[in-house]
Amino acid sequence: MPYETSPQHMSVEDLAQKCAQETQHFRWNQASDTQYCFELFRRAIANHDQVAWDKVITLYQWQVERWVRRYPDFQPSRDDEQDFVFEAFERFWKYFTPDKLNKSKNLAAVLSYLHMCVNGSVLDHRRKNHQRQVDQDEGEEERNPPGQDQVQVPEEFLQNEEFWRLVQSRLKDKKEQTVVYASFSLAISPREILDEYPGVFRDIDEIYQCKSNVLARLSRDPEIKKFLGLND
């Protein structure tokens, strides 16, 4: 390939133009050359080239919007859709490191990661909604009113981690650890626990007995009660 048309020696502007043309070819199901777009991503990620980043956003914003809109069972408003687009690019910028780029080798792999950032952004939103639902079921809506940002702040996350270590220190054996983890972290029923952990428990009655013993012990523990606000 002549020096002038080698992607590595082209200006960012020319790269972006070629990338746009080749993307067009791809969309029209024609033969396309991915090296220009890949080189644009490479400069943005490996060289921290801000102009290249700007071109990446310009060229792929439509694709990211499309992925957001086509996520199954998910219909955000137009405004929320743009927030997910922002978050997807933000994740991609933060977490698609030069090391991951080296592992990727081609444009398809890079775009797979960008697509994964879209899906991850939507899933995070769903997890937060689900956590909000769990909190509301408990009456935690007084502490976290609906409409406010429900993002778990780092302090809360650390407190929960600390609480989990405290609870684990109060459990006697592997069976109790399994029942507590499966019941409250995985939120699965005793019937499902019996299926997911074959050979650990005799039957469902044993699971209920184990759970009952743990709850009684935890309800008498002053530190646990303090964490759970069950002092009254």
Binding site: I57, T58, W62, Y113, N119, G120, Q209
Partner: protein
């Protein structure tokens, strides 16, 4: 007032109450709970305790969606891949999410047909262009024309969203930051006066300002990087016009 004792002491065992809370109690337990306020209150106390445990512990050690995605793309270390693989054996939530994170790479029949139709139409367009000897610049809905540098050495730029032009200019300020001067290019400025403008950037608190009587706004000390500007519509108040770009560091 809560009774001090069960109607038929010593009362239901906690195992029975837990089964009742899970909706799998036997008939005898359900009948008793219909009549005994004491055991009912015990059941409610158990429910409260369980709910508070779940609030604290729900998915406490589930990997983030980002990490699950990297697991799916095999970008994690070997040991972390093994950890997550073991977790997926027991966690139905993460198992489902990993399936959701996998892009659809196998088009179905209708999608293939659509791609074929689009491809044929594209070839027809190419033939027309060759006949008319058009210039090399290719432009189609969905692939925007490449615009000027955002914040680079060139002057103001114009971005269009929902048919509304937004003119943006960037100036260097202290410590490598930029100030953003913007204006909405509309005819009826009175309508837009006082409309909220939001600025969102990575790792920075969201900021707001208002359009003035000439449709202009300003944000000081913005940082180069991924930038989103949202302007509320003065008529459809729940709708926002948005632009997304990478703000390039401007040389002094």
């Amino acid at each position: 007032m809560i009774p001090m004792n069960c109607i038929s002491p010593p009362g239901l065992e906690d195992t029975k109450l837990l089964a009742h809370l899970d909706g799998v109690a036997d008939h005898e337990t359900e009948s008793h709970l219909e009549q005994c306020k004491y055991c009912n209150e015990k059941a409610k106390a158990l429910a409260r305790q369980q709910n508070r445990l779940m609030t604290r512990l729900y998915r406490i050690d589930c990997p983030s969606p980002l990490e699950l995605g990297e697991y799916r793309l095999q970008l994690l270390t070997e040991s972390r891949m093994q950890d997550i693989k073991q977790h997926l054996n027991v966690c139905p939530h993460c198992e489902w999410e990993v399936a959701e994170l996998t892009p659809d790479v196998s088009p179905n029949m209708f999608k293939r047909l659509w791609i074929l139709i689009v491809g044929l139409f594209g070839r027809f367009q190419m033939m027309l262009r060759q006949l008319r000897k058009e210039t090399r610049e290719v432009w189609s809905p969905g692939i925007p024309a490449l615009s000027a540098l955002r914040g680079g050495e060139k002057g103001p730029i114009t971005l269009v969203t929902d048919g509304i032009p937004i003119i943006l200019d960037f100036q260097s300020s202290s410590y490598g930051q930029l100030s953003i001067h913007g204006q909405v290019a509309v005819d009826d400025y009175e309508l837009w006066n006082g409309t909220t403008v939001e600025l969102r950037q990575t790792d920075a608190p969201q900021r707001k300002t208002l359009l003035d009587d000439l449709g202009a706004f300003r944000f000081e000390e913005a940082r180069p990087g991924l930038t989103q500007i949202k302007i509320s519509d003065p008529v459809a108040l729940i709708h926002k016009h948005q632009v997304l770009f990478w703000m390039v560091e401007r040389k002094q």
